[in-house]
Subunit: 355 residues, 2 copies
């Protein structure tokens, strides 16, 4: 009888909790509710059947993104979303029983992809207020550590990681790949990409799913040392990135004003929302992403259900006790959320949420 | 110092020999030169920024394709091109040193993906005139065989594999996954999908890159036993398929006449081209795909170079001695190819190609 490898048979099914298609306001996936630049849309809507019928040339897109990030094309690989970048890294470096250090709570896919390689996930809990646990990470490093993942700013907490901490880890683990996931870079503004070419074990992942409003496009970026990237490039399917992603890249990168305006609005609305939530007595954490982590406490499930019934989806984060992650949308969407939330709270059976 | 796993360090870089962007007539990738249905194009060109900004819902597309193929959605997975389907299968079943049986010459990616799992590729040569070597495949099966790949019709030869041979292999290797790659099904008309649900070790791969003219879209399909597919589903990234692929599926599947007309034209032009090439003394093999294998012999390189200078790319197949693979385009494109080829031949130094 046919049997899959043990480590994949033992994998749990990962269901991303996508809200129903009828949800009016989807604030559970850290997507942009503003969408992409009109220039990207115009480009996509003008694509012809010839481009669609041909296998896509990733190299042309890689040149554009490399120029934009000020790295060499040989230091860069475009991927089918940042998910594929993470997956390729796990496949490149993890043998069975090797260790990958993951600071939790964080993005779920690091765990999923490392399971597939039959690696051992060493989960290091964050410190007080979800702060980055540098000392614990350093202590977790062993001779079997092949990857250390640092999500900066971290999803779902929004907390950032000091550059000095990242540097210490990179230097403490020269035989390990350090994956710096900068998916939310645009909302944060700090990067380690300047160290690519200097630190041979550093990898930086980026995505067009967040600030560029292009999650449907599936376009991720991995940047790293030329020699290491040459290995990742060999592993990737030559046609891993679709034609739309490649065709629209130039427009997406060129419309800087669009991204800047969107980022500025998200940051302003995020800080507004945080204050509003705190006024209601809910604890929030300072966020550097397009989302905010908020503690609803014991009433979390009731609040989430009631909001969902009103067409609004937030993301439950069972890995952060009593917390939900709220994607920042347009200001009016945040105002609607607050109005609905206040109504929901007034109708709760207890009307006294534990906060 | 950071080192990737040995098996991936040893991988050769796979460069798909994509012709230059200025090639007028690209007959080297088995793409459709006709393109996709106008209904698909209209749908794509009407997509809005909301769809682009959201993570795609693969499940909706899987229901459509499952209905179309008359299987259950649980028996099916949509993938980022058929490449990802093949890759997932290798990752699900191959442990290091396990064996994958591949009949050669064939599609290069089976080899690439199995290398990544550190598996041993057992390459079984085809029989006379590239016929399927059933006896040799049966003899190649061992206790370590975890996958047998059957590409039907085979790329690059166009040769088909008798259903009885496939059945014998499925039954002879109950502990192995039998991957039946039906990428060129639409030009062939025979399938084993009817056996899904009956033979628990059979997997059938399909693609929208060929008859549907959507290689740029990156959309593949894997069909198999519910239990096995549940493993593959767990391994796949939840957002492996882009929003365009999912959005246009309904239109692509609905426009049956478009696909039928294209397939009929390709088959007619293929047979026309074969006769023309044979008139020039070149050996061709009977093909069931949207391509034809032709032996140019010792003059191959000169002919390919000269055609390329005239804006036409054919695919060199060094794995088939003296042969090239020619994608079938529109009839007038095939007539242009023949006209240019005749001119090229008349100008060859020897003017006496060894055929």
């Amino acid at each position: 009888m046919l049997k899959a490898r043990q480590c994949v048979r033992e994998m749990r099914e990962y269901h991303s909790p996508l809200s129903s298609p009828t949800t009016e306001l989807r604030l559970d996936m850290n997507e942009s509710t503003t969408g992409c630049s009109p220039r990207v849309l115009a480009k996509l809507n003008s694509m012809n059947e010839r481009t669609l019928a041909q296998y896509p040339r990733r190299e042309a897109g890689e040149k554009l993104v490399a120029d934009f990030l000020d790295v060499a094309p040989q230091q860069l690989l475009l991927t089918n979303g940042a998910d594929e970048a993470i997956d390729l890294l796990c496949r490149a470096y993890l043998e069975p029983q090797d260790e990958i250090v993951i600071v939790v709570p964080t993005f779920a896919m690091y765990d999923v992809f490392s399971q597939m390689e039959h690696a051992k996930a060493v989960r290091v809990p964050t410190g007080p207020d979800f702060s980055f646990p540098l000392e614990r990470v350093l202590k977790a490093l062993t001779a079997k550590t092949r990857i250390v993942v640092i999500c900066n700013p971290n999803n779902p907490t929004g907390i950032d990681v000091p550059r000095s901490a990242i540097m210490q880890i990179i230097q403490a683990a020269p035989d390990a790949a350090i994956l710096l996931d900068e998916a939310y870079f645009d909302f944060y503004g700090q990067t380690m990409i300047d160290q690519i070419g200097k630190l041979p074990n550093l990898f930086v992942a980026r995505t067009f799913s967040k600030a560029y409003g292009l999650a449907g496009l599936r376009l991720g970026v991995m940047v790293g040392d030329v020699e290491q990237m040459s290995v990742l490039r060999r592993m990737a399917s030559p046609f891993n990135v679709n034609a739309f992603a490649i065709e629209c890249l130039a427009e997406a990168l060129a419309d800087r004003q669009f991204v800047a305006d969107y980022v500025a609005q998200v940051i302003a609305s995020r800080e507004w929302l945080r204050k509003e939530l705190e006024k209601l007595g809910f604890k929030c954490w300072p966020s550097h992403g397009n989302f905010i982590l908020c503690r609803f406490g014991d009433e979390k499930k009731n609040i989430l259900d009631a909001l969902r019934a009103r067409g609004i989806s937030l993301r439950d984060r069972p890995d952060c006790e009593g917390c939900v992650r709220i994607t920042i949308g347009k200001q009016q969407e945040m105002e609607r959320l607050m109005a609905e939330l206040k109504q929901v709270l007034s109708q709760l059976p207890a009307n006294q949420a534990t906060r």
